[in-house]
Structures are given as C-alpha cells and as structure tokens.
C-alpha cells in the first residue's frame, strides 16, 4: 500500500538514510502536486511554487512526525495549513493591488513576473548569511560530507549542521514573507 511504503521510507529517512528519504520526498511530490492542482484550480501558476514550499516545510518539520501516526494525516494537516496560509497571503496582496484604474493589468503582470523571480529557491539561498549559505552550498548542493564542509568553512561540524538547519528554516520564513 502507498501509505505503508511512504511511511517506511520516511522512517528510514528519519533514521538518517538519505536515499530512502529522497525517494520519500520524490514520491510524495506527485501526491502533493495533484492535491494542490485540485485545490488551486484558479491559480495554476502557484502549484509548483507551493509544492516546493511544502516539501521544504515537510523537511523542516519532519521531527514532528509521530511514528505511530498515519502518515496521510500528518502530510494532509501540513498541506492544508500551508495552502490556507498561501490563500491568506494572496488575498492580502490582492487587496493591496485592487485599484480600479487602467494600469491594473500592467501592475498585475509585473507582479507575477517578480513573484516568479522571488520564488527561485536558488536565488533565495544565495541571500542567506554565509554561516548558513556555505554549509548548504557544500553539503546539500555539492554533496560534501559535514566534516569536509567544516574544514572548508573553518566552522565546527555542529555549527555546519546548525547552519543547514537554520538556513532552511530562514528560507521558509523568507518565502512566507515575500509571497
């Protein structure tokens, strides 16, 4: 069964098995995408952004998964929370950009364009402070070990791990504040 398979992949991932964890996220992506497509029918261009934001949230909050709990309930609660958050943010910005003048379309188009650029995670990562950006760059993008990253940055190994953790949390906060 799908639930059982994903659950066992996640539990192996939580134990530090990166390959299982990668499969978990990758198989989950398909479900998240269809979950969001159905609910964001009017905002199709938002779907992939929110899929990525959701993956980040699930990753950042993975320590809140209780192994005795159905995985579906956990993922759905996170997805629903993030979806509501997105719609709330949208309605706030739409409220600001709702003047009845002729330039409305022009502004809207420019806004959509900026939103695309702002959503580029690679660019957002570059804006993090060095003590977060470099550990993520070395370990998560280049695939170095934590020990290597520590040597290259002159940071301690635990500082590298903390940098990755805080960096990804800061990234989520940034997405939230600009979207």
């Amino acid at each position: 069964m799908k639930e059982e398979r994903l659950r066992s992949l996640l539990i192996r991932g939580l134990a530090g098995d990166a390959a299982a964890y990668r499969n978990f996220l990758s198989e989950l992506t398909v479900h998240l995408r269809s979950f969001l497509r159905r609910r964001l029918a009017r905002l199709p261009e938002e779907v992939e952004d929110l899929v990525q934001e959701l993956l980040l949230s699930i990753h950042n909050q993975r320590h809140t998964y209780d192994r005795a709990q159905p995985l579906t309930a956990w993922v759905q609660a996170i997805a629903r929370y993030k979806l509501i958050d997105l719609l709330r943010r949208r309605s706030r910005t739409n409220g600001l950009h709702d003047p009845l003048d002729d330039d409305h379309d022009l502004f809207a188009a420019a806004d959509g364009h900026a939103a695309e650029a702002r959503y580029d995670l690679a660019k957002l990562l570059q804006q993090l402070p060095d003590r977060q950006r470099l550990p993520i760059q070395y370990v998560k993008i280049e695939g170095s070990s934590v020990a290597d990253a520590a040597k290259r940055t002159g940071m301690s190994e635990s500082a590298v791990k903390v940098g990755i953790h805080r960096g990804l949390k800061a990234l989520a906060a940034r997405i939230r504040s600009i979207a």
Partner: protein
C-alpha cells in the same frame, strides 16, 4: 529550481532525527517555566506562612489535585496540538469533567453551609487579586510553552496558543497555591479558573502572532 533538484537538495546528507529530542525540550520547558513561577511566588508573593498547617487539611490536597489535573490535561493539549494531524481526543472532555466536578462540589459546599458563611466561602479574602496573581505567576510558563510550540508545527495556531496559556495558567495556579491561603472549593473553583483563563486568552492572541511557520 526544478522540483526534482529541490528534492535532491533537501535529501542530501540528511542527518538522523533524535526521537527523544522533542520530549527533552518539553521537559526542559516545564522545568525552566516552573523555576520562574516558583521564583515569582517565593520572591515577590512569599510562601503562605501557615503552609505547614494547611498541608494537613484535606481541602489543601483537593485544591492541588484540581490544579494538577488541569495542568496535565492542558499540557496534553499542547503536546497534541503541536503536531500536525493529531487530534485533541479526550482532552476537552477531560477538562470539562474536572471543572464540572469541582463546580458540583463547590455548589454542595455552598448549599450545605450556613447562609452567613456563604459569601466568605465564595470570596475568601483575596478574590480581587487572585486571578491576576495567578496570571502573573503563569507568565514564565506561558513563555516556555510558546517556545515549545515554536519548535514544533501546530496547524491550529489560535487553539494551540490557548492550550499553551491554559497549561501555563493551571500549572501556575498550582505554584501560586503555595502562597494562597484560600481552601474553600467555591473560591478556587471560581477564581483559580478565572486566573487560568487570563493566560489562556493571552495565548490565543499570541499563538497566530508568534508560532507561524
């Protein structure tokens, strides 16, 4: 960035999660919050000088059990609401039952007492300050329980904040009782509960502001 690449990035070099970390942090939050509440009670309010006599009274222990039961239920609510997809379960009914049992008991005490004593049983000598002092003592606990929520992932922020406030209020009331001389059920069935509801409302207000993720 393509979603596929993003998945690879997130999974790369992933560290094992310590399954006991959350429990350890919750324990730490309770201890630090309790120390703060004890410092306020012992330092600013002073312990009840008649405490050594009061502990001989059965009503002393009824009061402590009342506060402790609500604190346990409150903390169970915090721990559940802090995790996505976990339901509150028995907690609301548990809190309702404890409060209801105390009110029935308090009503019985009032009805069986001589009429001229009833006002004192209800108001004691400290009703005017009791809820506010409980709210003050609960302050450090509220901060530490909100810190617990921030580390986890509550999806119902207002309710989770209220639960943190209720847990802080009831545990705060338990600590405050070391100062408080009142031992009548109508008193603590009313004024203690009001004291717990002050941090509960504050928590409900702070939740959506402080624990978004």
């Amino acid at each position: 960035m393509k979603t596929e690449d993003w998945v690879s990035l997130l999974a790369a070099g992933v560290e094992p999660i310590d399954a006991k970390r959350t429990a350890r942090r919750q324990l730490l939050a309770i201890i630090v919050g309790l120390l703060g509440a004890l410092a306020l009670t012992g330092g600013i309010l002073r312990l009840n000088p008649a405490l050594s006599h009061a502990v001989m009274e059965p009503m002393f222990w009824v009061r402590e059990a009342y506060c402790a039961a609500l604190a346990l239920l409150g903390f169970a609510a915090v721990a559940r609401l802090a995790r996505p997809g976990i339901r509150l379960g028995f907690v609301p009914a548990g809190i309702g039952t404890v409060v209801l049992v105390m009110w029935i008991f308090a009503a019985a005490v009032l009805l069986t007492a001589p009429a001229q004593n009833r006002s004192h049983l209800f108001f004691g000598t400290t009703a005017g300050v009791c809820p506010f002092l409980i709210a003050m003592v609960a302050g450090p606990l509220l901060i530490s329980f909100l810190w617990v929520l921030r580390d986890l992932a509550p999806t119902r922020l207002r309710l989770a904040g209220a639960a943190a406030g209720f847990a802080a209020g009831s545990l705060g009331a338990l600590v405050y009782s070391l100062h408080c001389p009142e031992l009548a059920a109508p008193f603590f069935g009313t004024w203690y509960l009001l004291g717990m509801l002050i941090p509960t409302s504050l928590g409900a207000w702070l939740g959506p502001r402080l624990v978004r993720w």
